[in-house]
Structures are given as structure tokens and as C-alpha cells.
Subunit: 206 residues, 2 copies
């Protein structure tokens, strides 16, 4: 397979807007297309990389800084890197953009009321009751991306539709392979196959 | 080029034993052979990933935990990952071994007296004078690796010799390409070249 360039697909948006669900769907498809894929989200990094951090502005910033460092290293080494964090502040997303290779800001846009309805853990409710401090969308601001590469409107799109948008964008930039099938006229004679095999071996592909 | 498996080459040893110098030399050669290469060492990660940490045992452990997380992600994505830290404790190196793909513990072995002579920053002197606490080799222990994949004896080997040992080991495990030259009998006729080119394009290599 052609060696595809790495990238950092950065999903940002309110809690429960659908970031992780879409990122997981896209990651699954990219793995099937043979790419090296990594997912970075809160559930993953807060167990190890950022387990000392809470949710104050300062700690959120540190969290994003460390994730950015990792995404930088992965994206410049041909890894399809899918990052999903609320990442509410423009400044920190801008820093991620400057550091990561092929940074693609993906704004997962959804009205806060819809996010709240989807919130099975009841976090919005707790935040409104004052039980959670610094909760984005309730008592901490979310700064909309002024110029994102992609906007996914998850109140009107299905997960499949949003994932398709992302995949089409990545295909358009030639960052991922298309889904292809072998056609009839790509069949070789045995002699041709031998030559091809030998050359592939010489080049180190086999 | 064949897609080589990633690995984590973990250099451990006393301060000023030569870890970073050898790791840099190996990294340079691996880049020239066309691999994706990353270097993780104190100078790099303490600026970003672990800038909140000092040198107490607890902080050193956290430092190694975060580096391990990054090395895990890189090594499982076909990146040649070269890590150089004093990393004095067996337990933390063991955890890194369990998490990283193709973990290769490389003990950079050198008598403490020789390390001290090489110490241009005078850290050993300061540690002996009590100005630096928890300095490995002076007032904090270094636990020798009981069973490292590689031992480099930098008091008797040159940097080139040590680097050569590492490269030979990696070649032996087929983790890196050999240095190869194109020989005369690998020249193709124009017709053969056409077939090869078309097939390479079909396969997505071109």
C-alpha cells in the first residue's frame, strides 16, 4: 500500500455532541482501509498521560497540551490520529494546529439542548444543580471555531452521514485510500507476474 | 520500501554514560535508511509533556509513565522509537517493557567514575556537594537491568562501535532494512519496466 501522510483530525464540541462516536466510526473505517490509526480521547489519556489533572481551566489547558504533543508525534509519522476532546478554547486549538501535521479541525456542532437530552450520565443536570463546576456549555464557555475545516451538525445528521462527510474530505485531500476493487483488465500473464514479483522483491516490498 | 515493524529502543544508564549520544547516532542512521524515527529524551519531553515534574522519585516515575505512554503509541505504529532516560528503577522499565511493542532494553554501562569525568555541566560535583538531591549514582540508586537485550560498554567502546552493535542487533531481528546497493543484474528492459510500473501503480505504490 502507498504510504499515506499522517494527519490530526481534531474533533471539538460540547459534551455529548457526538465527537467520540463519530471519531470511533471514522477510526474503524480507516483501520479497515489499512492505515495506522490512533484514537486519543479523555477515556484513554486520563488513565495514564493526564491522570493527575482535573477540569479547571488550567488543568484542561495542560491536558490539551500533552495530547497535542502526542498528536504531533503521531501525525508526523504517517499515523491517522483522531483526537476527540471538548477542547473549548480557541487558543489551545490554535496551538494544536500549529504543532500537528495536517491538522483538520472538525467542529461537531449541536445545540446545547440536544446535547443535554443525549447525556445519559446526567452531567448537564449535575452542572446546572451546581454539583459540577467548570462544565462546558453550562458554567464554562465553549468558543466556536471561527474557521474549521469541517462542520458536522449532529442534531440533523446521522453518525453515518457525519462519518461519511469526514471520509469524503480525507479522500479529497488524498490522505486516505479510496475503497477500490480489482477490475478485469488488471490481470497479468504468469510471465508478467514473475517480472513484477521479482521487481517488488528487489524494491523490498515483498 | 517494506513496512517495518515499530520498536522501542530504551537506553538506560547513569547520567553522562552516553545514552543520548548513541541514541542520536543510531537515530540518524535509521532516518537515512528511510524509517520513521522519533527520539524521546529529557531535553525534548521536559519542555512539554512533563514540564510540571521535578526529579523526586515520584516525579521521575511519572515522567517515565508518560514517556512510556507515548513510546507505546509510536512503537505500535511502525515508528522506530529511541528513548533515552536515566530510568534508574527496574519496576518502571518493566512497565515500559510490558506496554511497548518490541521493547529492547539497552543498558549503557559505564563506571560512575568515567561518567563523572565526562560531566561537562558539573552535575556530579554539585550532587556530591549536596547541591542536587536525588542524583542517580551519587545520592539516588541506579538499579542495573538484570536481563537487557543489549549492553553497551561506553568506557571501552567508541560511539560508532556502540551504535554499530545496536544496528546489527536490529538488522538481526529484521526490524530495520540492511544497507543495500543495486547490482547489475537488477536492470530491466523498457518493456519490463512498463509492466512493473503499471503494477506498482495498481497496487498503490506509485
Amino acid at each position: 500500500m502507498k504510504k499515506y501522510d499522517g494527519f490530526c483530525l481534531w474533533f471539538t464540541g460540547l459534551p455529548c455532541c457526538g465527537k467520540s462516536t463519530i471519531a470511533d466510526a471514522v477510526a474503524e473505517e480507516l483501520s479497515q482501509r489499512g492505515l495506522n490509526v490512533e484514537r486519543l480521547d479523555g477515556d484513554i489519556v486520563r488513565q495514564s498521560l493526564t491522570k493527575d489533572l482535573g477540569f479547571s481551566k488550567e488543568d484542561r489547558d495542560k491536558n490539551i497540551e500533552r495530547v497535542t504533543f502526542v498528536a504531533k508525534l503521531l501525525s508526523r509519522n504517517n499515523v491517522a490520529t483522531l483526537v476527540s476532546f471538548v477542547s473549548p478554547y480557541i487558543q489551545k486549538r490554535q496551538e494544536a494546529r500549529e504543532q500537528c501535521h495536517n491538522f483538520i479541525e472538525t467542529f461537531v456542532k449541536c445545540p446545547v439542548e440536544v446535547c443535554e437530552q443525549r447525556d445519559v450520565k446526567g452531567m448537564y443536570k449535575k452542572a446546572k444543580a451546581g454539583e459540577i463546576k467548570d462544565f462546558t456549555g453550562v458554567n464554562d464557555p465553549y468558543e466556536d471555531p471561527p474557521n474549521p475545516e469541517l462542520v458536522l451538525e449532529t442534531d440533523t445528521e446521522t453518525v453515518k452521514e457525519s462519518a461519511h462527510k469526514v471520509l469524503t474530505y480525507l479522500e479529497g485531500r488524498d490522505l486516505i485510500p479510496q475503497k477500490v476493487e480489482m477490475s478485469e483488465d488488471e490481470v497479468y500473464t504468469p510471465e508478467e507476474e514473475e517480472i513484477v514479483k521479482k521487481r517488488l522483491a528487489d524494491l523490498g516490498y515483498l
